[in-house]
Subunit: 385 residues, 2 copies
């Protein structure tokens, strides 16, 4: 470690909100985090050479949260290289062991370019997705292919109708795994075929994003298979298959990533624990290559607040070193009459995702899709390509 | 789906504890879960054929929790085949979307043999680990190689001392990634060498379990590499690298799995959300092949209660179809003076894991390890092999 003493090693910072639930001063709680997430031994056991190299987390700042009772914002920095510049160990340093403690929430990350570049971020980003879909400045319109259990010909027919109706992205339902009702390869091939045929009629570029959630043995083949069909992107749930699996396979096959938040919700149940939606579904999902991050919009059947949703959208789109901006996709019980409100809150660089309500609107899915597109045009005007 | 109407499809059951936080009856909350986790559309949109096939979750039972206020235990069954018999989609059906709702906690799983067999469970189990370590009926003794940042020769020397002192399993610290201080291959080779040399002296079978947390591109090679060195098992954190990654690679290389709970803690912060430690670190980790499940013991520096720890140990060891029983490894701030108490609570089929306290006990690690072993012998007597 001699090289580390000559010049200070690059560090990154994690903002922890600490809810102190005992009589110990917040400084002790922060010091516990700094040890726990690095050397994981009592402070009096840290070897001198390890301490001198700055391997223990460093408390950079602690300040009380205004009006937050016994809550404090603590910024702790870590050497960037203790992450090994790989996602599993990065997550481990951020929150591995302390996830099992009470009252610690991650509210922000400050990351140096070395880490951003190591993970790569979105391959397409806002402009890339707009180019793929052939959409200028308006929000993109998306729906979900559902429910699971339908025969493949019905699913393909739904794809065709949605595409003829003018939607930009048809994503599969995130439960649409490799099931015997609709085996993965056959289903994806027929749906992609249906969308391409509709595109040939309409002259548009509706995109079909199949869900990928296969076992470790199969998932690499699934990415390769959809790429071979000319599919441009996939729906995938990083918390189900592993965040680094998504990063690696999407980059290997140059596929756009629409990330689904399934199984992430334990981070959001308490305001005193986990990570904010902006950190996990925003910054971290963007880091691993998410081009479009699906999240449960406020006012639907989930519990995010408007402020959380806006902060998340900001984390996806704000400048972040060399990383491309990504698109927020508010969803989860959205209805056609909320297009204007959603457009106002999230602006044009957004994917509006309406699923069940489109099925409820009419039995004629093409007509439902058209109504959705008219709703967007009503707010944003025509979008000449 | 015609085949499904002739005989009822096999189902599995999830026990959800629902904390009702509004004025709607619990039946509506349970019905929401049954739709959300399967078809994910409003009830009035479910196609007849999908409903008839039993694809929507089925409410089997709802009863109030005694003394639990507005909490209810709801058992919901799902067709086993909607999991695709693969781990990511299994997790998705259990808790994917509803993780983002409030007040739903999984307290138990009832799984048919088809699902158990598909995932496989522990390859070694209690008896297999005892055989590898050459330990009869007493608890196994384990420690952690730490801290990160030490040069490889120091780590190898620690391994040698722990092995000479008689410990059964030397696991690496879970932050010991492929870092430039101690690159993975060189570190693992030297540590395994040191342990084997000590074993040749002592005649014992101390096991060395390296930590595996590499990127998706490297992790398969890391499993293969350690197997090639004659290593018998690994430490791995399923929530960091993906649960199915662990299942697949451990089985591919016939390596024992010591599972670390890093990054799982968001499940345990609230008694009204997530999964119980017994379900996640017990049943589910066992399903994916965990032979030894590390968890933060009560009375250490984490927050599990004694009851939670005992329930978790039971979930690892209780009969579960064709699956082998696994070993609990209470850890997280355990000290030498707690051996007797831990032995009383957890019994002999346990891995006692003492990390930092062993380093604190003495600068002579061999002596510290001997003291640990004497503590076990004091309670359990000699253990002739």
């Amino acid at each position: 470690m001699t090289e580390t003493t000559s010049q200070p090693a690059e560090r990154f910072s994690v903002h922890y909100r600490i809810a102190v639930g005992d009589n110990r001063p917040v400084e002790e709680h922060a010091a516990d985090i700094a040890l726990e997430q690095t050397v994981e031994i009592p402070g009096d056991c840290v070897p001198d050479e390890v301490a001198a190299a700055g391997i223990v987390g460093r408390i950079e700042k602690i300040e009380p949260v205004a009006g937050g009772g016994s809550r404090f914002d603590a910024v702790i920095s870590y050497r960037a290289d203790i992450t090994g510049f790989c996602v599993p160990q990065f997550l481990n340093v951020l929150y591995g062991n302390i996830s099992i403690k009470k009252g610690i929430r991650i509210t922000r990350l400050d990351l140096p370019e070395s880490l951003l570049a190591a993970f790569g971020g979105p391959q397409f980003g806002v402009e890339g997705i707009r180019r793929l879909a052939g959409v200028g400045k308006r929000p993109l319109a998306s729906t979900a292919l559902k429910p699971i259990g339908l025969p493949i010909p019905e699913l393909a027919a739904m794809c065709a109708a949605f595409a003829r109706g003018g939607l930009d992205i048809i994503k599969e339902d995130h439960g649409m795994a490799d099931l015997h009702f609709h085996p993965f390869r056959e289903r994806v091939a027929r749906c992609q075929e249906a969308v391409l045929a509709a595109n040939a009629q309409t002259g548009r570029n509706t995109l079909y994003f199949p869900m990928i959630s296969g076992s470790f043995e199969r998932i690499a083949d699934q990415f390769a298979f959809v790429k071979g069909l000319g599919v441009h992107g996939v729906l995938v749930a990083p918390a189900l298959v592993g965040l680094d699996t998504v990063r690696a396979l999407a980059h290997r096959h140059n596929l756009a990533v629409m990330a689904h938040p399934a199984f992430t919700g334990t981070h959001f149940h308490s305001p005193d624990h986990g990570m904010t939606p902006a950190v996990l579904l925003g910054t971290i999902f963007r880091l691993i290559g998410t081009d479009i991050s699906v999240f449960p919009n406020y006012g639907g059947r989930f519990s995010f607040t408007q402020a959380e949703c806006v902060e998340l959208a900001d984390a996806l789109r704000a400048p972040l070193g060399s990383l491309k901006p990504a698109l927020p996709a508010p969803a989860g019980g959205m209805k056609l009459d909320r297009i204007e409100a959603m457009a106002e809150v999230f602006g044009p660089d957004t994917v509006l995702l309406i699923g069940g309500a489109l099925l409820q609107h009419s039995n004629d899915l093409e007509k439902s899709a058209s109504t959705f597109m008219q709703g967007i045009r009503k707010v944003f005007g025509d979008d000449p390509r």
